[in-house]
Amino acid sequence: MAAAMSLAMTPVAVAQSVAPSAAAGKHDAFDPRDLSGQWSGGLGGGLHTVGKIPTMLPDAQAKFAANTAELKTTGVITVDPTFSCEPPGVPRIYDLGSSLVELYQTKDRPDRIFLFYEVIHTWRTIWMNNRPMPDNGGVPLALGYSLGHWEGNDLVIDTTGFADWGWINRAGYPHSDALHLVERFHRMDREHMRLDLTLNDPKAYAEAWKMAIDFVLKADWDFAESFCRPSESAKFKGNGDLTATDPNVAPTK
């Protein structure tokens, strides 16, 4: 796998045309299907709710109450799974830290796009070859199984197959194994990209949950290493009242 990855990691534009350069300005020409490069969502990752948080159904309400019970007594959430380096899943991974997202498509692997996350140093594979959603026997996946396609100049990703233990965001909102996530990447100009997310989870929420991230191109930044180390997390949690979480949904826009 490692050898295959190293062969496949030559960064090329998702659609080969305009190559990003650090000197280019936001009004310069760009290919709207070129999503390559390193994109920052800003402080906290940038994930925010658009409109209203949907009504939780009873099972989700019970999970949420458990996830946030500490808030009522100590004012903190220490049970956040990411504090113990549990995989954050999606969209939680966009609400973790303040790191880069990078999209890669490779010449020798046109059937897939790799979506890299600097935070916890992981990636997703987005299958672009019209394959059906697989029946994996119900194996629970943190990141789900992702199928992508183009709608105009938007990269649209459908993801299902999630485990039932994931958090949607740092505020402790849960999702179920019925979560269907749709991500729509839209490059707005040379330096800005919008990600609109729609969560449909009929076991957990009565309505769809709309979220978004506004990314800024960081063409001159290096994609860095940022692992979650259990030993570091344990040391951090041992620091008295410190908490890595801000148990609030980012402000609604």
């Binding site: 100590t74 180390r229 570091e232 951090f236 008295g240 009242d241």
Partner: protein, 139 residues
């Protein structure tokens, strides 16, 4: 963004709390984002690690009693992009810190831009990964 600060309470020499009306969307966390505390402090360590870097310090109350405290800052990636390294501050460095205090009254605080500051040698150390502000002094 400039935020107008209004001093509402003078605790004692060296410490003061200001309120931040209209800046309360983080209100239910462990930290009180409606308040800022400024204190003169002596660094005891800079812990450079995930998920967040921690600046430990000592300060004194009005009677001279030493109070230990700590500040939760950004993660190391963010701090490095803001120009910091684990050597930027070391034990013994005297700083003036402005931070959001813990709700439980302990001297654990939270550093967030743009309202929080760390002054060192009279300069405000940059805390913005996008590079605005004054970069930390090279060591």
């Amino acid at each position: 963004m400039k935020i107008k600060l209004s001093i509402v309470l003078l605790l004692f020499a060296g410490f003061y709390v200001v309120s931040l009306p209209g800046f309360a969307h983080h209100g239910s966390s462990a930290y009180d984002f409606t308040k800022l505390i400024t204190a003169k402090a002596k660094v005891t360590s800079l812990e450079w690690g995930n998920p967040h870097c921690i600046l430990k310090f000592e300060t004194k109350d009005e009677t001279g009693v030493v109070i230990p405290g700590s500040l939760e800052m950004y993660n190391p990636l963010w701090m490095a992009r803001a120009g910091w390294s684990k050597e930027t501050l070391k034990a013994g460095d005297e700083v003036e810190i402005t931070f959001h205090p813990a709700k439980n009254g302990s001297w654990n605080g939270y550093i967030r831009i743009p309202e929080c500051k760390i002054l060192f040698h009279g300069r405000s150390l940059n805390l913005d990964e996008n590079g605005s502000g004054t970069p930390p002094e090279p060591k």
